[in-house]
């Protein structure tokens, strides 16, 4: 009896001290929040006639500090009970996986989706014209046959412009924009994800492609379809030119030199007024044509096919161009991974010294990765120029490089699906919240930090080796050695 009483007292003391530490920890957090907010958030500068004035915002700041205290306290008190919840979630996730295998994996899931899509199509719930539904149904059917969810994404991407609710605004500002970043992400993935070279100046090649198309079209009147390969070749040439002297450098030194090159190219574009128009940029860049047909009211695409003229045709055409370019990038990358040069890239990423001792020409291997990545950046740049009709150095700042690199790393280096998902979430997510313009970039930055802390190796962190003895196994992210290329 006495023992039990003593024990309950002990438990009470323990609970009390746990509560005490929780409170004191929350108080420390609140104090830190207070110092963080003073004075940078608690006073706002306002322009007055002769000088700057100050407006105090103490109520909001104190409320924020109180919120930090309450949040931290709640977290401290609830965290010990959180383990159970996590365990339940993990168990149900594992059970879900087992169930998934029991019912036949992707084939069944995609099959069910296919049946639903066909049913929706027959009842007329999908596109306005039922023939367009085939864009979704056909890839899904292939997906069922090949047991691969990638075909579902392909179907969704193909069908997107005709999906119910896809207005011109969404196709242009969501679809095309996300695909540009998917393509840039896949291009940079060759350099960073496969060859393990940290490139912080990727936007330079994007700029070279864009200016190459704009200048060739304006000065020589060449069409988009002739300039597109030229822009890619020029960007690849610049990749070789910049890469040759610096690819001996390792890791972070390479990063800083590529960053410097990116900035140099931007500054030159900004100051070479006679060629690039300086900060005013180049406007009136010609639009692409559909086998020589322009997208205009009279005698254009719509007239030729007997359709009523809308500006939507051009937008959808642009959407399919960038989708095609992105798919080419993806396909080339997948094929390259199976070639000797692709295997050399991945070997280089894992261990440069081993590569050297096996007789791989390290400089040439790096140079091919750098220039092929640059070529895709050049294609994307040419597309960007023709889509916007106007380019200026402002579109090619370091932040573009940083965002593309973030997409590659967040997606999981080397993973094609992961990169596409990361581009969709980061770019698409921030585009959808365009109404909250002021807070958009703030949330973007916070999302980058939180996603990285949550999954340091990216969303799709595991890797499937392109070659293996016997059956190929997926390698978990924690087992993948980082490269120091």
């Amino acid at each position: 009896m006495a023992v039990a009483a003593a024990r309950s007292e002990e438990v009470a003391v323990e609970v009390k001290s746990a509560f005490g530490t929780a409170v004191s920890d929350a108080a420390i957090a609140a104090v830190i929040a207070f110092f963080l907010a003073t004075p940078i958030l608690s006073y706002k500068t306002v322009e007055e006639a002769t000088s700057l004035g100050l407006v105090a915002r103490w109520p909001q700041v104190l409320m924020g500090v109180a919120a930090v205290f309450a949040g931290r306290l709640a977290l401290n008190l609830l965290w010990p009970h959180f383990g159970g919840v996590v365990a339940i979630l993990k168990a149900s996730w594992a059970r879900l996986g087992a169930f998934f295998h029991a019912i036949g994996g992707w084939r069944t899931v995609l099959g069910v989706l296919l049946v639903c899509t066909v049913a929706a199509s027959v009842t007329g719930h999908l596109a306005v014209n039922r023939w367009y539904d085939l864009l979704l149904i056909a890839p899904l059917a292939v997906g069922v046959w090949r047991r691969s969810p990638a075909w579902l994404f392909l179907g969704l991407a193909l069908f997107f412009p005709f999906a119910p609710g896809a207005t011109r605004y969404y196709i242009e500002n969501f679809g095309i924009l996300v695909l540009i970043y998917v393509m840039l992400g896949w291009g940079l993935n060759v350099v960073v994800g496969l060859a393990g070279l940290l490139d912080l100046g990727y936007v330079a090649f994007y700029a070279v492609g864009a200016y190459a198309y704009a200048l060739l079209a304006q000065n020589f009147g060449l069409s988009f379809w002739i300039c597109l390969p030229l822009a890619g070749i020029l960007a690849a040439f610049w990749g070789v030119l910049l890469g040759f002297p610096v690819l001996r450098l390792r890791g972070d030194y390479l990063a800083i030199v590529t960053l410097a090159f990116g900035e140099i190219i931007r500054i030159v574009l900004l100051n070479w007024q006679s060629l690039t128009g300086g900060p005013n940029g180049i406007s009136g860049i010609p639009r692409p044509t559909f086998f020589g047909l322009e997208f205009k009211a009279d005698g254009g695409f719509a007239d030729y096919f007997g359709l009523p003229h809308t500006s939507l045709h051009r937008i959808i055409f642009l959407y399919y161009i960038i989708l095609g370019l992105a798919l080419v990038t993806n396909w080339v990358t997948i094929r390259l991974r199976r070639l000797p040069v692709g295997r050399a890239w991945e070997a280089l990423r894992e261990d440069e010294i081993a590569c050297r001792s096996l007789g791989i020409n390290v400089t040439n291997t790096k140079l091919t990765a750098f220039s092929i990545g640059a070529m895709f950046g050049g294609f994307a740049g040419a597309f960007f120029a023709t889509k916007q009709g106007f380019i200026s150095p402002e579109s090619f700042t370091f932040w573009e490089s940083a965002i593309i690199l973030a997409i590659v790393v967040l997606g999981g280096m080397g993973s094609q699906v992961g990169v596409a998902l990361a581009a969709l979430v980061l770019i698409g997510g921030t585009e959808l919240f365009r109404e909250f313009e002021t807070y958009r970039m703030l949330v973007f930055g916070l999302a980058m930090v939180m996603m990285m802390v949550w999954r340091p190796r990216g969303v799709v962190s595991g890797r499937v080796p392109t070659i293996a003895i016997g059956k190929t196994h997926r390698i978990g992210g924690d087992l993948v050695q980082e490269g120091r290329g």
Partner: protein, 311 residues
């Protein structure tokens, strides 16, 4: 000659500011091997804190000089302390959870933090250029004439004198801190081998936090100096100054404190002389090109130790 001397003075002043920021980069890189991209924005936050403090004190044209000097010292100390809290928080939230993780992960969180800091200031203070009140600016103008010929005088302004003196003082203090205090010893130990340092009883997490605190405090000093020197700041200064300072750190040899200072001075001088004798359009190209050339021929930087490759 007078023109040359004037450019030299300006270059040294600018170089001191870059050098102070570069120390933050170089110390963090030395100890955890990451490029702290948010450091430039920590400098910007420090600069804004200083501006707000100056406005809160409310100096006027009639304030005696001694009060102004005291005010600057006070603002410097408070800005250092508050910015240090920011530096600590950034490390705690964005880098510590990724300690020992994959190499690129902290680089991405650093870029994220940089976006967060610059946008936070943009939202809370507005995107416009903020000017130091003219009263304070006027009181700080003037200077010593060094030499004069053909109607052109080379002048060291009071502001430049303050900046150079504070920088030299702080450099001496921090060199002493790193070379002959227990904290400096712990810091150097962590730099060489973190696991081994932990085994010998060094609190690695605390040492790394302190490194960030010191780096942020020095960035705050640079921020105050920048504000006093140019008299105008905006939320974007962190990016440009950060890139230059990082260039300076790499140029001088990353991981080396004197190297950071030398690199900062070189970048400042290159920039000022290029702008003075060639033209200001391509001054950044000159700085970056010299960085690329130095790295190609001497990858470890001017004063850095070559990295030994181990299998």
């Amino acid at each position: 000659m007078e023109y040359f001397v004037q450019q030299l003075i300006n270059g040294i002043t600018l170089g001191s500011i870059y050098g102070l920021i570069a120390i933050g980069y170089t110390m963090v890189y030395g100890i955890i091997g990451m490029i702290n991209f948010a450091h430039g924005d920590v400098f910007m936050v420090g600069s804004f804190i200083a501006l707000l403090l100056f406005l809160l004190i409310g100096l006027t044209a009639a304030t005696p000089l001694i009060i102004i000097v005291l005010a600057i010292i006070g603002v410097l100390l408070i800005a250092m302390a508050l910015t240090a809290v920011w530096g600590w928080t950034v490390e705690r939230l964005a880098y510590r959870p990724l300690r020992g993780s994959f190499r690129l992960a902290p680089l991405i969180t650093a870029i994220g933090m940089s976006i967060v800091l610059s946008n936070m200031v943009q939202i809370s203070q507005g995107a416009r250029v903020k000017n130091l009140p003219p009263d304070i600016k006027d009181r700080l103008s003037g200077g010593f004439q060094v030499m004069e010929a053909n109607g052109f005088a080379a002048v060291i302004s009071y502001r430049q004198l303050i900046i150079v003196c504070v920088t030299v003082g702080l450099m001496t203090f921090f060199t002493w801190l790193i070379t002959s205090t227990p904290l400096g010893r712990a810091q150097r130990a962590c730099e060489q081998d973190r696991t081994m340092a932990a085994l010998t009883g060094v609190d690695v997490d605390r040492t790394i936090s302190l490194t960030f605190v010191i780096g942020a405090a020095l960035a705050a000093v640079a921020g105050v100096m920048f504000l006093v020197y140019y008299g105008a700041i905006d939320f974007y200064i962190g990016f440009v100054a950060g890139i230059k300072a990082f260039t300076a750190a790499v140029l001088g040899g990353i991981g080396s404190l004197p190297g950071a200072m030398l690199g900062g001075l070189l970048i400042g001088l290159i920039e000022v002389f290029w702008a003075g004798y060639v033209g200001s359009e391509y001054k950044d190209v000159a700085a970056f090109s010299i960085l690329a050339i130095v790295l190609i021929f001497r990858p470890e930087g001017l004063l850095g130790r070559p990295e030994i490759e181990k299998v």
